[in-house]
Amino acid sequence: MNQIEPSVVVQNLTKRFGDFVAVDSVSFEARHGEIFGFLGPNGSGKSTTIRILCGLLRLSSGRATVAGIDVARNPEAVRQHIGYMSQKFSLYNDLRVAENLEFFAGMYSVPKNEIPARIAWALKMAGLEGRDQNPTSSLAVGWKQRLALRCAVLHRPPIIFLDEPTSGVDPVSRRQFWDLIHSMVGEGVTVFVTTHYMDEAEYCNRLVMLDRGRIVAMGTPTELKSQHMKGQLLMIECEPLGPALELLQTAPEVLDAAVFGNGIHAVVADAPAMAPKIRELLSARHLGLGRIQQIAPSLEDVFVSLTAARGVSAEVAA
């Protein structure tokens, strides 16, 4: 395969379910050997996009090619080049660990003489050595996810699609899962992953932020954080949060405010100048106040800021 050509090219991809537009004219390119992230809340069109790219759903309009193959015209050919892991755990619980691997090795037509070595490797990578005869149903969720991932890549596909691979998995297992993804990227694989965990999005080389079927931003995590914030970020510790948030959202100098953990993140034009003003504003209302300091924005801040702006403009438009 041509290494310069992008792995996944999507142009004006649209998917309608009746009147509902799940994916609205989305365009992007994923390059070889990168982790390409799709970030967005539930219902933003992440899973629909990934399913179209895997040939599981028909697109309504637009064009999508995976590994240079048109998905709409030749979904079967696409399936030879991809590994897919669906959101829901989708291995056979009534089979043993090794039997699941053997089954998918068969489905992907892995050459017979290579099957034992690939299964051994998959078991090693998933951390399931010596547990190959265990019933799959007996594995904890984190192990199941790693096994599912290794099942989906037994045929060594150049592109892997992972649909919310870590939902419902504990933080330690999530970390281990991402180590596994990084090791595969090291083998030259393109990973296309959807998530709604902002911390996971930081692991991606490039990201698309999706909201209600539309792309709201695209770039590396660093680019997104530096280019898509309208101002600087202040972290305000205060109590109670409700009235304070209301106050800040109505204050004209505050561009945007949202609750993060036990504080409020406020977007302002000039953070050092605004900090004392906000302290004053909140004290006047007798709200318990802790630290106020300028911080670097996280992806979550970027996302909240972008989608909030869009929500307002949508309301104005309506």
């Binding site: 669906s86 009534d94 998918f104 068969g106």
Partner: protein
């Protein structure tokens, strides 16, 4: 088409069948239970009708006559009564369903006028058994009366060869009118319909329900490979169940087998294709295991039981129902099996039935293949 993928699919299905006690139960227990229910419990033969006798004559002749009831399998003399009230009591308590009363002067009347009457009392609350019972009783009286007629003629030196026209029905193929012999073909069809369609109705629906289908259709496996790989184990199970049913029928119940085993298994394979494809189609359409298995039972068990001619003869059905049976594969299969078991009919005489069955099989295989799409929603 890749054999590796088909074999991998078959292997997975076999593992799932073996690990699911319910399917094992259906595969092994249902055929035998059905066969034994129809073999023993549902006995459509009327034999050993419980009989009460009341001899009011008490002569050598009357005793001689009543011995004829003893000599046959059709009646069981359960009680010798000594009064009408005793007969009433016995019928009321269902001790007997038929009572035969020899009136006084039976021997005397016979001797003097050559004519005597008998009384039979029947419990007709089960009218079918009662009419069969009276039929047997009449036949016994008939044979007794011709016996004494001949004896009477011989005594008077009129010779033995007095021509008297008698009707002697001769039943072919199932000489003893044993209902078991007639039922077995239907039981085989019933077992295969239930086992075949019921089990396969779960295979696709289960994958949708558990979410494994989404993973499966993201692989390069072809839809024909899925269909063949999934149905093959059930095909083998169906053949094994046919062998179990036919073997038990022939060697345990003594049902005659006069045709060719090749025709039996050949046609069974055709019928299996029909029921497996039907089950597969239902499974693809229903997408839920519960809905699919209910639909499969409705589509196979009931028509096979009621409309295939298995229990109720097709030519006795209302004409519209007869038309409906024309598209029922079980009807042709039951008809072929009856011919193979009881008549040993040559293949060329069965060609019509086999052809229709094959045509239905092809149509259903095509329908099943078309119905499945490797797509969500």
């Amino acid at each position: 088409m890749s054999w590796t993928r088909i074999i991998a699919m078959t292997r997975k299905e076999v593992l799932q069948i073996v690990r699911d006690p319910r399917s094992l139960l259906i595969i092994l227990v249902i055929p035998l239970v059905q066969l034994f229910i129809f073999g023993y419990a549902v006995n459509l033969d009327v034999k050993h009708v419980p009989l009460c006798i009341y001899d009011r004559d008490g002569t050598q002749t009357s005793q001689d006559f009543l011995k004829h009831f003893q000599a046959t399998d059709y009646f069981n003399i359960v009680r010798v009564s000594d009064s009408y009230s005793d007969i009433v009591r016995n019928i009321d308590h269902a001790v007997c369903s038929v009572a035969v009363v020899v009136p006084p002067q039976f021997a005397e009347n016979l001797q003097s006028s050559g004519h005597a009457s008998l009384q039979a009392i029947l419990d007709a609350s089960d009218s079918n058994s009662a009419s069969i019972g009276i039929g047997y009783a009449q036949a016994i009286v008939q044979s007794y009366s011709s016996e004494i007629q001949i004896a009477w003629q011989q005594e008077r030196g009129l010779g033995a060869g007095v021509p008297s026209v008698t009707f002697e029905p001769r039943t072919w193929f199932n000489e003893d009118l044993e209902s078991m012999a007639n039922l077995v073909p239907g039981v085989v069809a019933l077992v295969m319909a239930v086992v075949g369609a019921f089990l396969t109705s779960l295979t696709i629906a289960r994958e949708w329900e558990r979410g494994t289908m989404e993973q499966l259709i993201s692989t390069p496996v072809g839809k024909l490979e899925i269909q063949i790989g999934k149905l093959f184990p059930y095909f083998v199970i169906g053949i094994a169940d046919t062998a179990i049913c036919a073997g038990t029928a022939v060697w345990w119940f003594g049902v005659p087998f006069r045709g060719s085993w090749i025709v039996l298994f050949g046609c069974s394979m055709l019928f299996l294709l029909v029921v497996l494809s039907l089950g597969y189609y239902i499974s693809v359409t229903a997408r839920s295991q519960l809905g699919a298995c209910q639909m499969a039972l409705l589509a196979t068990f009931l028509p096979t039981f009621l409309l295939s001619g298995f229990i109720f003869p097709i030519d006795q059905m209302p004409i519209v129902v007869q038309w409906i049976t024309a598209i029922l594969p079980a009807r042709y299969y039951v008809s072929i099996l009856r011919n193979v078991f009881l008549k040993g009919t040559e293949v060329r005489l069965l060609a019509g039935d086999i052809f229709v069955l094959a045509a239905i099989a092809v149509a259903l295989v095509a329908l099943a293949t078309r119905s499945f799409q490797k797509r969500l929603g």
